[in-house]
């Protein structure tokens, strides 16, 4: 491979090293990973708690004791029996007795645990919803405040523009009036001049007649 291609590889590696994800995407990815970790943690602790309650509950202890007793009884019976037992029959009897003793207890236990789980999930959901709502309200209020400020700024600017226009119009009117007054003075001056000229001519005439 030529030197140019080597340079190209190095250039491409440089380009790769300069790729930066946006800060928004980074934040989103970190939050997503954090949420996953936290949810996993709560799920794991809930399942551990369930198992702990199952093993701690008196019903479970009783059922375990019953199973143990039946097994011991079966073993003793088998050992002391003069002739071999019907295994199938025993199996069926054991199964039905176990089912009868265990099923309601397990069902009850399961209901209690499911209820607990539901309550936990509901409480967590409520808290999350509340927090989300608060965040939304805060965001809306901030947005509203920003919009109000912007609107009031625009209104102030508009009012100022109107005031400037009014002042300009008043000044223009004043200027017009001054111009009209100056013109009138000019016309009066011309009239006075022609009047004075007429008086001078008249005086000359009178003087000539007297001489």
């Amino acid at each position: 491979m030529s030197k140019i291609d080597e340079n190209k590889i190095e250039h491409k590696l440089k380009v790769l090293s300069q790729i930066e994800p946006s800060s928004e995407a980074t934040g989103r990815a970190i939050q997503r990973a954090r949420d996953t970790l936290i949810n996993k943690k709560s799920r794991q602790s809930a399942s551990t708690r369930i198992w702990r309650t199952v093993f701690k509950s008196p019903i479970a202890k009783l059922t375990a004791a019953a199973v143990l007793l039946i097994a011991v009884g079966y073993t003793i019976g088998r050992l002391s029996a003069p002739e071999p037992l019907d295994v199938e029959e025993l199996k069926a009897a054991l199964e039905s007795s176990l089912k009868a003793s265990l099923e309601p207890a397990i069902r009850q236990d399961l209901i209690v645990q499911l209820n607990e789980q539901w309550q936990l999930a509901f409480a967590a959901g409520c808290a999350q919803l509340k927090e989300e709502l608060q965040r939304q309200v805060r965001r809306d209020l901030t947005e509203f405040a920003a919009q109000t400020l912007a609107a009031s700024g625009t209104l102030t600017n508009q009012r100022l523009m109107e005031l400037i226009q009014l002042i300009e119009a008043a000044r223009w009117r004043e200027r017009q009036q001054v111009a009209a007054a100056l013109e009138q003075i000019e016309q009066e001056k011309i009239r006075l001049r022609s009047g004075l000229l007429a008086v001078a001519a008249r005086t000359n005439e009178l003087l000539d007649t007297k001489q």
Binding site: I9, L16, P21, A25
Partner: protein, 179 residues
């Protein structure tokens, strides 16, 4: 278990941004990097080896690099659907430039994916993350000299792989023109 979760959360705060940047550079897609980041932390939370690892940060980075290259390998096998085509992470603004650049970068990354794991890790840290040799050596529990040798060998291998790929595509093109 709880300690591990706590430790992972701390790791996420400390190195999350760097890991995400690394995944973005290796996949060239922010959405995929986000998915892989989540997958990485799920894997770490289930991993017993993470607890045993002496350097957790190095272990995490290695796992991230492996995940990214596994994804690249899967992508090569899968035919590309139209809805999978997203805008790649690139600094060039023109669409054609972006396309060409992404293809070239993909080619380089696929070639890096063909390196062996230890060379690949050293190479990625040196040339994509631009870490100094001493730091890489510390992270990989090797000497700086060994890391230099690894990177140099990896670069040579990369040249060979890319050269071979180019020759192959050229011959294919020639064959197509003839027929």
């Amino acid at each position: 278990m709880r300690d591990r979760q706590k430790e992972l959360l701390e790791l996420l705060d400390k190195s999350g941004a760097d890991l995400y940047a690394l995944l973005t550079r290796l996949t060239l897609r922010e959405d995929v990097a986000e998915e892989l980041m989540q997958e990485l932390f799920i894997k770490l939370s289930n991993s017993r080896r993470f607890d045993k690892a002496g350097n957790r940060q190095a272990y995490t980075r290695r796992a991230a690099i492996n995940l990214a290259f596994d994804w690249r390998r899967r992508q090569k096998r899968k035919p590309l659907r139209l809805d999978q085509v997203r805008e790649p992470a690139s600094n060039d603004s023109s669409p054609l430039g972006k396309l060409v650049q992404t293809e070239e970068l993909d080619e380089i990354l696929n070639a890096i994916g063909r390196l062996n794991r230890s060379s690949r890790e050293a190479f990625v840290m040196r040339y994509i993350q631009e870490e100094p040799y001493d730091y890489i050596a510390k992270q990989l529990d090797k000497t700086a000299h060994q890391v230099r040798a690894l990177c140099s060998r990896a670069l040579n291998r990369l040249r060979d792989v890319l050269g071979h790929d180019q020759r192959l595509s050229f011959e294919k093109e020639k064959h197509n023109v003839k027929n």
